[in-house]
């Protein structure tokens, strides 16, 4: 046994002991004791009334996780995470209802205003009780009816386990196996809830699916799991997140998103990530370690990732595409903004396996303050992947001279017919541009917002319309106070 393993086994013994002890007193409560062990996992699974196969899946993942080391290759740094100091299960609780917006953090309200979020919406987001029937309730109902008409399944992950166990069993872990990486293993062991979506053959989902509209979406917790399956000839556009600032007491977030596109199917997955980044000194922000991967399983299938990353203290995220089907297409469009002490290490992997597969990568990194922004990308062309094509464009924009931008492109081509193009630029907002805007009456901060949005235009254009408008405002807000 290696030293590491010994250590882990010892740790496990200690913690499970502790846990058993604590378990008795906690069994009826809705919260597991701190720490992680097999018993905790059994507890989670039991609480959620899960079938045995899912418990097995969790346990295998956990045992594997024990053998792994936390990755250290990303261009980020943080104090070690104490995994035994985390509560891995608490029952979905209603957020404490506030009586009026007066009870909400004024800074949060200011941000809502700047984003142009309506008052009703603000109340909803801040957890204020709303007595009148607000629009979103009726919207939700119409929404569910539309889905039903098309036999689209869109529900929480837990509901899917209960109501569609065969689908979940078939696809869970088929794109991101629990062995994939440290945080994927952890998520697979302890995931709390998330979203499940299935688009049947030949159906074009007529509405943008957004977690916001999902019933039972409250409190999915820090280990979220999303599974989206687009059957043959189907199409879906899925929106994750929201532009309003998200605060959470949990520092560590490790989600998994798996997408599967069958023959001629298309999945468009858009994210706006705005977790709390910590204060100006970098204290207290969220660590966001996400594994997102799409499998273009069928021929002529297509998966596109579009992301606008503005939040979190640390972001570690590489939405990827496995292009297995012949003629499949993978796309990655990303804007990542970092300010103050934020760190982002993000990028994508495009794995060309089928013949005549195509991938496009457009990454726009924007760094300000003392932040660090890295693009890490891998384009791999397998031996039999004839006529693979990739185009990558990675641009970095620097505001000020204390921030950093780094690009790590890795290209591995195993087939001589592959054409892989990579372009990279680094630029600064020029004084000329700023002065030009100011001379037209636009103040310094608005000028920066305008120039940055122009810079990110190519990616923002890929977002669904309403999302794009909010995302533009969000970029400007994120960079407030970054110059001058």
């Amino acid at each position: 046994m290696s030293d590491k393993k010994k250590e882990n086994t010892a740790l496990e013994e200690v913690t499970s002991g502790e846990y058993k002890y604590g378990f008795v007193t906690n069994i009826d409560s809705d919260q597991a004791p701190k720490g992680l062990s097999e018993d905790i996992i059994r507890y989670i699974s039991e609480k959620k009334d899960e079938p045995d196969w899912l418990l097995e899946f969790r346990l295998k993942a956990y045992r594997h996780w024990l053998t792994m080391d936390e990755p250290s290759w990303a261009h980020i740094s943080h104090p070690p995470i104490n995994f035994q100091n985390i509560i891995y299960y608490s029952a979905p609780k209603q957020k404490k209802k506030l009586n009026s917006l007066d009870e909400v953090d004024p800074e949060l309200l200011q941000t809502f205003d700047k984003l142009g979020i309506s008052l009703e919406e603000q109340k909803h987001l801040a957890g204020v009780a709303v007595d009148a029937v607000i629009d979103s309730v009726s919207v939700k109902t119409t929404f569910q009816e539309t889905l039903k008409k098309h036999d689209i399944i869109f529900c929480s992950f837990s509901e899917a386990v209960k109501n569609h166990p065969d689908l979940v069993k078939k696809y869970l872990g088929s794109v991101v196996p629990y062995t994939d990486n440290y945080f994927a293993a952890l998520n697979s062991a302890v995931f709390s809830d998330g979203s499940f979506c299935y688009i049947p053959k030949g159906v074009r989902c007529p509405i943008e699916l957004s977690t916001y509209f999902r019933i039972n979406a409250a409190n999915t917790g820090q280990f979220e799991r999303t599974l989206i399956i687009a059957d043959d000839e189907s199409y879906v556009s899925y929106l994750e997140g929201c532009t309003a600032p998200m605060r959470d007491e949990n520092q560590l977030h490790a989600a998994i998103v798996e997408l599967i596109a069958h023959d001629n199917a298309e999945i468009k997955y858009s994210t706006v990530q705005n977790w709390y980044p910590g204060d100006k000194e970098g204290k207290g922000g969220i660590y966001n370690f996400v594994t997102k991967r799409g499998l273009c399983k069928g021929h002529h299938s297509k998966i596109s990732w579009t992301q606008v990353e503005t939040g979190s203290a640390i972001t570690w995220k590489y939405p990827s595409c496995i292009l297995r089907g012949d003629y499949s297409v993978g796309e990655f469009y990303s804007v990542a903004v970092t300010n103050n002490y934020q760190q982002a290490d993000t990028g994508t992997k495009m794995l060309h396996i089928g013949k005549n597969t195509t991938s496009t990568i457009i990454s726009k990194g924007i760094s300000a303050g003392r932040s660090n922004n890295s693009y890490r990308g891998l384009v791999r062309v397998a031996k039999n992947a004839k006529n693979a094509r990739n185009f990558s464009q990675c641009d970095s924009l620097l505001l000020g001279d204390k921030c950093g931008a780094h690009t790590f492109p890795y290209i591995k081509t195993g087939n001589p017919t592959a054409i892989v193009e990579h372009e990279a630029t680094t630029s600064k907002i020029s004084d000329d541009q700023l002065f030009y805007c100011q001379q037209r009456g636009i103040d310094m901060e608005k000028s920066i917002g305008l120039i940055v949005n122009g810079y990110a235009k190519e990616v923002l254009n890929k977002l669904p319309m309403e999302f794009a408008v909010e995302a533009q405002k969000l970029l400007a807000i994120t960079l407030e106070g970054s110059v001058g």
Partner: protein, 251 residues
């Protein structure tokens, strides 16, 4: 008095470029400044518009009677000071329409007015585009990106027409323009000219002044205005060139 510059001294990186300049412009007047390259004409424009790095070491700039030396560039702009840039700047990804709307609304916000209605704004765009004869498609393109030299200059005049400044400074807007473009630019200025605004036209050639008739012509040399006169002075300069200026300073 619209603009009153008194004994202005401006340094860049500690080097004095403008060395005691006096100039006053009343509403309803067009002033032309002529002078050889490197004499400080653009520096003067930058000092009036408040560009960072242009240090006013001595003197005063009064605009409508108030000192503007402490005002930010955007404040000066919103108070009605406009500069047509000698070298207009490209802003990739920002459409002219978006840029103009942001600028118009910034000014309205400054004046405590609500943002302009989209319809009203677009109508105004159409009207002013005609005035400077610019291509309808140009306003959908990114600010100055891929514009020809002439298009860039016309675009400056277009922005001026949109923003309706009280004091417009044109920094060599005529340079590099063919005669047709020159006429368009001049026409833009002449249409905007009124009893409520003033123009400072910086130019190298008297050619522009055939179309924009100045009330006063000033000759600038080595950081000072060395000679002022009427329109006739421009013609005189055209004939004699700038060489004669250097003589009294030689020694």
């Amino acid at each position: 008095m619209l603009l009153n510059i008194k004994d202005l001294h401006v340094s860049i990186d500690g080097k004095e470029i403008i060395k005691g300049l006096n100039l006053s412009i009343n509403k309803g007047e067009i002033h032309a400044i002529m002078g050889p390259n490197g004499t400080g004409k653009s520096t003067l424009a930058a000092a009036i518009t408040g560009r960072e790095g242009y240090e006013i070491t001595k003197g005063e700039i009064l605009y409508n009677g108030k000192s503007i030396l402490d005002w930010t560039p955007d404040q000066r702009a919103n108070e009605g000071v406009f500069l047509s840039f000698q070298y207009p700047i490209e802003i990739p990804g920002v459409s002219m329409t978006n840029f103009m709307r942001t600028a118009m609304n910034a000014k309205r916000e400054y004046k405590n007015l609500p943002p302009m209605q989209a319809g009203e704004f677009l109508k105004k765009m159409e009207e002013k585009k005609k005035l400077v004869d610019i291509n309808a498609k140009m306003t959908n393109r990114s600010v100055n990106e891929g514009f020809s030299g002439g298009e860039k200059k016309k675009n400056e005049i277009f922005q001026m027409a949109m923003l309706e400044p009280e004091l417009a400074i044109l920094d060599e807007t005529d340079s590099g323009l063919d005669i047709d473009a020159l006429k368009v630019v001049a026409n833009g200025v002449n249409q905007l000219k009124s009893e409520d605004n003033g123009f400072l036209v910086i130019t190298h050639y008297q050619r522009l002044l055939d179309y924009i008739i100045p009330d006063f012509v000033h000759v600038m040399f080595e950081g000072r205005i060395v000679k002022s006169g009427g329109k006739g002075l421009a013609l005189e300069l055209e004939e004699k060139g700038y060489e004669w200026l250097k003589e009294p300073y030689a020694g």
